[in-house]
């Protein structure tokens, strides 16, 4: 099937299984229970898991394989979103032209940015990409938003208005859709105390993720991918072996830019809005964190990292002092207040602090990221029977 090796096939099937059943798996707690706030199985959050998974899988093709650390990939995310919203404004809410333009424009943009930034390597490359992305942000935020030529709609963000042409809309839906199938449509399945939500938008994103993941596996196992790995371990040797590393890194850069453009297009397809803040350096940094946290250079790592970060962002930022008080209400008042006072800094708006700590723990104790942790556990469990671990095949059994 799909000309993949056995382990890779297994990996793809496992990822497909978890992605397609996510609305059930991520909703383990009954809707009315106190634990329901830890559920992640609602459309908005699941869409973000998958979209940022695509973003990180693409980023990993550049960073994980070649070792070139870009701090500017959010620029492509933003470009993809803008391109998609323009398609909605000009043609219709059908996401197909939007997705195509997102990927194409992000690819062209990546070609230009890569051509310039890849003149340097190491920290200089990183700084160049950061500068490029910040410039793009500034341009989107102000320069391209003036009355005579308004491409980005500046601070407000680009969105679809009633007087937009939408030449192909006719009497089609007034929200994003795939040939009439609306993204926001959700089928809710009530079983006992549980309510599972199956959302069209999520499944569209999930299919894109599976295709994107499959392409990433092919690239990892291809001669092209082998050269990218060789660039990471010894670029000098590669050059003296008769290979020109420049086009290899440029292609990797463009491919990862197209993945980011796809993710940006999907974000806009779920919610037809594009703002410049999507291009900001914090967004670029986030995909770096996702990739490293999950395991740079591994196949599933970036997906796990994206799920992990988006989950904790969502859960921890929702917890407030009254929730904390309710958890510790059984303790003596003084102790309760003390604990809540400490935890207060790690939740709500302080969730970045928790994320920072988790990130530090992972980097210090699991240099290979979550995949490394999973592999260690797998090896430890399977040691007597199977000394040869199935690379990342063991993974993916964790969240998302």
């Amino acid at each position: 099937m799909f000309t993949l090796a056995k382990n890779d096939k297994l990996l793809l099937v496992i990822v497909a299984f978890f992605t397609l059943l996510a609305p059930i798996i991520l909703n383990p707690f009954p809707t009315e229970s106190a634990m329901a706030q830890f559920n992640a199985g609602y459309p908005d959050l699941m869409q973000r898991f998958v979209i940022f998974g695509i973003f990180a899988v693409g980023f990993n093709i550049l960073f994980g394989l070649t070792g070139y650390l870009s701090f500017g990939h959010a620029a492509f995310l933003g470009v993809g979103s803008y391109a998609a919203v323009w398609m909605f404004k000009l043609l219709s809410y059908n996401i197909v032209p939007a997705m195509i333009l997102s990927v194409v424009i992000a690819g062209i943009f990546a070609l230009i940015m890569g051509f310039i930034c890849l003149r340097r390597s190491g920290i200089y490359f990183s700084i160049l990409t950061l500068a490029f992305a910040q410039m793009s942000f500034a341009i989107a935020y102000s320069v391209l938003s003036n009355p005579s030529f308004n491409l980005t709609n500046g601070e407000t963000g680009l969105q679809v208005y009633n007087d937009d042409p939408q030449y192909l809309k006719g009497d089609g839906p007034s929200t994003t859709h795939l040939f009439g199938l609306e993204m926001r449509e959700t089928f809710t399945l009530d079983i006992g105390a549980w309510a599972f939500q199956f959302n069209v938008g999520y499944y569209i994103c999930a299919i894109f993720l599976l295709v994107a993941f499959y392409i990433a596996i092919r690239i990892f196992r291809s001669p092209f991918g082998l050269m990218l790995k060789a660039i990471k371990t010894n670029q000098t040797r590669l050059n003296y072996t008769g290979l020109n590393s420049k086009p290899y890194t440029l292609f990797a850069f463009v491919i990862s830019g197209m993945y980011a453009g796809l993710a940006g297009g999907l974000l806009a397809s779920m919610d037809p809005l594009a703002g410049a803040e999507r291009m900001q350096w914090t967004a670029s940094g986030e995909v770096v964190l996702m990739t490293i946290l999950g395991g740079a250079g591994t196949l599933v790592g970036p997906i796990l990292g994206a799920g992990f970060i988006k989950y904790f962002e969502n859960i921890f930022s929702k917890i407030n002092d009254s929730v904390l008080h309710s958890w510790f209400s059984l303790l003596p008042d003084g102790l309760e207040n003390a604990i809540v006072w400490v935890l207060h800094f790690f939740v709500g708006k302080g969730w970045h602090l928790t994320l920072g700590l988790l990130f530090m723990l992972v980097v210090i104790f699991l240099p290979g990221g979550l995949v490394d942790g999973g592999t260690r556990i797998y090896n430890w469990v399977r040691k007597p029977r199977n000394p040869e671990p199935a690379e990342e095949g063991a993974q993916a059994s964790t969240d998302q």
Binding site: T3, A5, R218, I219, R221, S222, P223, F224, G225, L226, M227, K229, A230, K232, T233, N234, T236, R237, L238, N239, Y240, T241, G242, L243, N244, S245, P247, Y248, F251, I255
Partner: protein, 251 residues
């Protein structure tokens, strides 16, 4: 006319004359040794052949084509491969992958966007690489990470990588440095054996006299950036200048 012609090459590092009017003529199909004390400029000279350094003045012609000002990968594609003094290999990849990369470079050229094929299914490349590893007695190590090999094995791997490309000119920078006696002898045998079979022109930089006299058809002696003698092995031993600069020295 030789396959590699070096004339009047000069290279300065700051005030240091690393190479001074170096002339060299490497005849096709021979093993040509370059010897000389540490810091004589031997590695620097090889660096000028592979595009790592550009001489300040002088010319380096390979098969009549200048090697100056073209990129390292172009020089390799023209048929020049080098084994470095400190092994340059892909430490994070397996031994087999290392050799396969060389084979890909030979088959597909400096760049090919081969992103949809599967490495595992490139049987011609794989068989060639496996055969090459057998030739250097490393077939049993093909699945190991190359970074975990012993120093001698790393060097042998690098040699396999270069040989798998069927180069027209093979440059070997102290191929036995840091090896135990037994390993050194193995390597000499291997080189002699390969030379017997392929007749690839080789420039060997060596420290070990034993190696040099058992392999080379011609020897150039470099001291302080200058070629002080060039002759057949049997004549070099008796050369007074050489004895003073090299054999009679600290070595």
């Amino acid at each position: 006319m030789g396959i590699l012609e070096v004339s009047n090459v000069n290279k300065n590092f700051g005030g240091l004359k690393a190479l001074h009017n170096v002339n060299l003529d490497i005849e096709e199909g021979t093993i040509h040794a370059i010897i000389g004390p540490n810091g004589a400029g031997k590695s620097t000279l090889l660096n000028c052949f592979i595009g790592k350094l550009v001489p300040d003045t002088g010319t380096v012609n390979f098969n009549g084509q200048s090697l100056l000002g073209i990129k390292p990968h172009q020089i390799n594609q023209a048929g020049v491969s080098r084994v470095f003094q400190t092994p340059e290999i892909f430490m994070d990849l397996t031994v087999l992958d290392n050799v396969m990369i060389s084979c890909f470079a030979k088959r597909d050229g400096a760049f090919s966007f081969n992103a949809w094929a599967s490495v595992a299914q490139q049987t011609d490349i794989r068989e060639k690489a496996e055969k090459m590893l057998e030739d250097v007695n490393m077939a049993d190590k093909s699945k190991m990470l190359s970074g975990s090999l012993s120093r001698g094995d790393k060097r042998r791997l690098e040699m396999a990588m270069c040989l798998s490309q069927d180069p027209k000119l093979l440059l070997l920078d102290e191929p036995t440095a840091g090896m135990a006696r037994a390993d050194t002898n193995n390597t000499i045998e291997l080189l002699a054996d390969i030379h017997e079979k392929t007749k690839i022109t080789k420039v060997v930089i060596e420290h070990d006299m034993h190696v040099v006299f058992s392999l080379a058809q011609k020897i150039s002696v470099l001291a302080q950036g200058t070629v002080i003698a060039e002759d057949l092995p049997e004549n070099i031993k008796g050369n007074a200048k050489v004895q003073e600069a090299y054999l009679g020295g600290a070595h």
